[in-house]
């Protein structure tokens, strides 16, 4: 993984700022590679619209417009699954107990999306995001109204555009795992079942790629189920939280 994914260097800056910097670098690289950013904020739709308009219609004249879309509440899992492409960004806004946010975020690894989750209050105990941008010390209801939440996504926008001024660093994202034999590693990859052929074989999407796996170990595998895949076999179902 990237060296910068380590914790903030001692005394260099505060952890919140470091997290924003890392998220912005990742977002800029994804945008440079053609990503769209899908924004979901089921409890806080005004923030979902606000963050999307920042990227689409920059407040600073001359900054490039970037594709960002706020998806209104509704069937968010189905909407993101249909609309997104591997390599896109999912930006979620909501507290850690927000089941509608969790339901989307937990599937993003299988879909091949980079996740940025902005929230406040207790940290999520369920599915994590690649980049957790968290307002500590206050609950979501306050952070959403005090300016702290909007400050976080304003900074993501500002820093993303700073990264664009460093084109040499936009293309150096390392693709790990290429030289690792998945079958020999202990790793199970998260996959979402898209269709079941018979009781034993199913088509899944993992890291955005479609593959066929053996699902005979999973009881009553159905489309939409999340499973852990190891060496071409779905070894277990990943249960939804609560």
């Amino acid at each position: 993984m990237m060296s910068t994914e380590a914790a903030a260097p001692e005394g260099a800056t505060d952890a919140a700022a470091w997290g924003l910097a890392l998220a912005s670098l990742a977002m800029a690289r994804r945008f440079a590679a053609g990503a769209t950013m899908w924004c979901v904020a089921p409890r806080w739709p005004a923030h979902g619209s606000h963050v999307a308009v920042e990227f689409v219609h920059p407040v600073i004249v001359g900054k490039r417009a970037l594709p960002a879309v706020h998806l209104e509440a509704g069937e968010l899992v189905g909407a993101v699954r249909l609309l997104s492409c591997p390599g896109d960004i999912l930006l979620a806004i909501g507290g850690s107990g927000d089941a509608a946010v969790e339901a989307v975020v937990r599937r993003c690894e299988a879909w091949g999306l980079t996740t940025v989750w902005i929230g406040a209050g207790p940290h999520p105990s369920g599915p994590g995001a690649d980049h957790l941008i968290w307002v500590d010390g206050v609950d979501m209801a306050r952070a959403a109204r005090s300016g702290e939440l909007v400050l976080r996504y304003h900074l993501l926008w500002e820093l993303t555009h700073v990264v664009f001024e460093h084109p040499g660093l936009l293309t150096t994202e390392q693709q790990c795992r290429d030289d690792v034999c998945i079958a020999c590693s202990d790793e199970g990859r998260l996959a979402e079942i898209t269709s079941v052929h018979d009781g034993n074989r199913a088509e899944v999407v993992a890291e955005g790629n479609v593959e066929t796996v053996d699902v005979s170990l999973v009881d009553q595998a159905r489309p939409g189920d999340l499973v852990l895949v190891h060496a071409g076999v779905a070894i277990t179902r990943v249960e939804e939280a609560r």
């Binding site: 800056t13 910097a21 308009v53 209801a141």
Partner: protein, 219 residues
């Protein structure tokens, strides 16, 4: 990725740059400085606006107490700030819920008005349709110059509606409009920092209104 317009002057700086730790360190310093600046601006703005916030909040509480309703509007990010204010008044984390509507939410009304009478009238026409004497109109414009927001204030003032304007910079045209009863200005020239401080102002205003309503009930 296209190069920045000036990068041809420094062909080796940008395209050969590979030190991502240095960049992330710079980004992170910039983020920390801006976070501090934002909080400082919010605190200073609330202090500076306290008298105006208290006057506006008291008048709003009186109007809510008599059945008045709040209408909020703005464009772009300010439209979402208007929607956020409505959410705060309508679904508060504590205190009493208060009747509030955002004039930016109905796509049929917005597009019909924009198409048929012009975008500069999208809020004023809704004020004419909905608002009555005793109501409250709150407009957001970071420049203070959004024509449709100013037009809505003019219509509201004609109808005995209490008007509040949130703006940045030095207040723009909102600062000199005789149709605005209460002006809340964030003295900054960064749209982002203005919007962040406005959130803090709205939260403070809401708590003054809630306090005003509690005190009113107790009398």
């Amino acid at each position: 990725m296209s190069q920045e317009p000036t990068s041809f002057l420094y062909p080796f700086i940008d395209s050969e740059e590979r030190d991502e730790v240095a960049l992330v360190t710079d980004l992170s310093r910039s983020a920390a400085a801006k976070m501090a600046e934002s909080r400082q601006l919010g605190t200073v703005t609330i202090e500076r606006s306290l008298t105006e916030l208290q006057r506006a909040g008291q008048e709003m509480a009186e109007r809510f107490g008599l059945g008045g309703r709040l209408f909020a509007f703005g464009n772009g990010g300010s439209a979402t700030d208007a929607a956020g204010m409505v959410d705060l008044f309508l679904c508060p984390p504590s205190g009493v819920p208060l009747p509030a509507l955002a004039l930016v939410d109905d796509r049929a009304v917005l597009t019909a008005l924009a198409n048929d009478v012009g975008y500069e009238l999208v809020f004023s026409r809704q004020i004419i349709a909905h608002a009555r004497s005793g109501d409250i109109a709150v407009g957001f414009s970071t420049s203070g110059g959004s024509v449709n927001v100013l037009n809505a204030f003019d219509e509201a003032a004609k109808r005995g509606i209490l008007t509040l304007g949130f703006s940045g910079y030095e207040g723009g045209s909102m600062a000199t409009s005789s149709s605005v009863d209460h002006r809340l200005v964030v003295g900054s020239d960064s749209v982002h920092r203005i919007q962040e401080a406005q959130s803090a102002l709205v939260l403070e205003l809401w708590s003054i209104v809630q306090r005003g309503l509690r005190d009113g009930d107790g009398q």
